[in-house]
Symmetry: C2
Subunit: 200 residues, 2 copies
Amino acid sequence: MLIRYPEIYAAIKRLADVPPEQWRRLEGRLSVRRFKKGECFIEPGQPSLEAAIVMSGLFRFYYTDLDGREATKAFRGKGELLAAYAELLDKRPSRTTVEALEDSEIMTVRYERVTALYKDHACWQELGRVIAEDHYRQRERREQELLMDSATERYQTFMKDRPDLAARLPKKIIASYLGITPVALSRITAPTRTKTKRSA
Amino acid sequence: MLIRYPEIYAAIKRLADVPPEQWRRLEGRLSVRRFKKGECFIEPGQPSLEAAIVMSGLFRFYYTDLDGREATKAFRGKGELLAAYAELLDKRPSRTTVEALEDSEIMTVRYERVTALYKDHACWQELGRVIAEDHYRQRERREQELLMDSATERYQTFMKDRPDLAARLPKKIIASYLGITPVALSRITAPTRTKTKRSA
DNA sequence: GTAACGGATTAACATAGGTTAAGGACAAAT
DNA sequence: ATTTGTCCTTAACCTATGTTAATCCGTTAC
C-alpha cells in the first residue's frame, strides 16, 4: 500500500519522525473539504472535533466578543494546521471562528483519531508535542508584541515578517490582527507624519 | 531504589503517565537551588539550558525592552514549571528574566537530560506534549485578553482568577502584568468613578 | 531616632487610539 | 448605466492610558 498524499506526509515528516506504516494508519482517515471565500471551517459554539491541514487558500482565526467586536488571532495558509487548538485540547465548544479568506481546500481528520494513536507509537506523541511547541512560540511572540509594542511598531513588524499576507489581505483584516480599528491603521499608513516608537 | 522526591513525582504523574522506573532516570539528575528574594534564575543573554520545578516561593517572568521598560509575562509558584520555554525550544539565549519574588527553592534539571529521554520512552514525549499544550493555553488566553479587554477588565479578571497572587504581589508588579503603568492601575482601583467596559 | 528609599496615590498635562460621520474608489448586481 | 455595497481614507472629537512630578507612607539602614 502506497502513501496517498505524499505532500502532506512530507509536511508531517518535517515536524516529527512518523514512519510510513504509522502514517498509513492516519492517512485513510483523511477527508478533503472545500470552502468558498467567506465560508467557515469552525464557528463559535460548535463542538470542536476536527483538525486539518491547508492544501490551498487562506484562513483566518478570530474571536468575537459579546459586543460583536472581533480580533484576529492568526492566519493559516498552505501546509499549515487548522484547528481550534485550545478548544480541541479541552474538548470545549469553540469560541473562535475559522473562516476562509479565499477559496480553499483542506484535508481534515477527527481529532480523536489522532489522540487514539498516542498510546500506540511515540511518534504521535512527538508530533503532538512539536505542534504544541510551535503554537506556543507563536502565541508567546504575539503576547510580547501586544504587551510592549505600539500599534505602529506592530504594523511594521507585520509588514516585515509577512509581506505575502500583507499583499493578500484587505487592510481591515490587518487592522483586526494588529488589535486596532481600520481608522487607526489608516492613520498609521498615512503619508504625512511618521511616528515610530512608543515613548520611553 | 526508592522515589526520592515523591511530591515532585506526584506532580509529574498528574501531567503524564511516567512509570516509576522511567522517573528514576530523571530524578538522579535533579539538583536543589535556592534563591533569595530578588535573585534571578534566568537573566537575558544567558544560554537557557535548565528547566525547574518550584518547591516553594514565587517567581516572575518578564521581558525588558531596549528602553528598559518591562512587561511581566507570568508568575509561577509551588509545583509549577520554571523555564524560558521558547528559548529552550529554540536553543537561543534568553530574552526573558526569571526573578524570585520571594525566598524560593527549586529543583532544576538540564533540559537536554529531558530531551535525551524522548527517544527512549513515549512517556517523555507525552510529558513534553502536555506541558507544551498547557503553556499554549495560558498564552492564548492572555493574548485574547490583551487583544479584546480594557485594562480595567483585565484587572478584574486577574483579581477574580488569582486572588492569592493579588494578595502577595506589590501593585506595580500587577500593573506590569496587566500591561499598564502603576499610575494607571491606581486610577483603576481608585474609589470614585467605576468604569467597566471598553465602549462598543 | 533619623535618613534614605521604594511603593502608592493623586493631579496636570500629553498622546495614541477609538468613535462617528462623510466622501471617494471600486466591484458586483440589476 | 445605475445602483448597491464594501473598503479605504480623512476629519473632528472623545477617552483611556502614558508621563511627569509632588506627596505620603512604611521599611530598612545608619
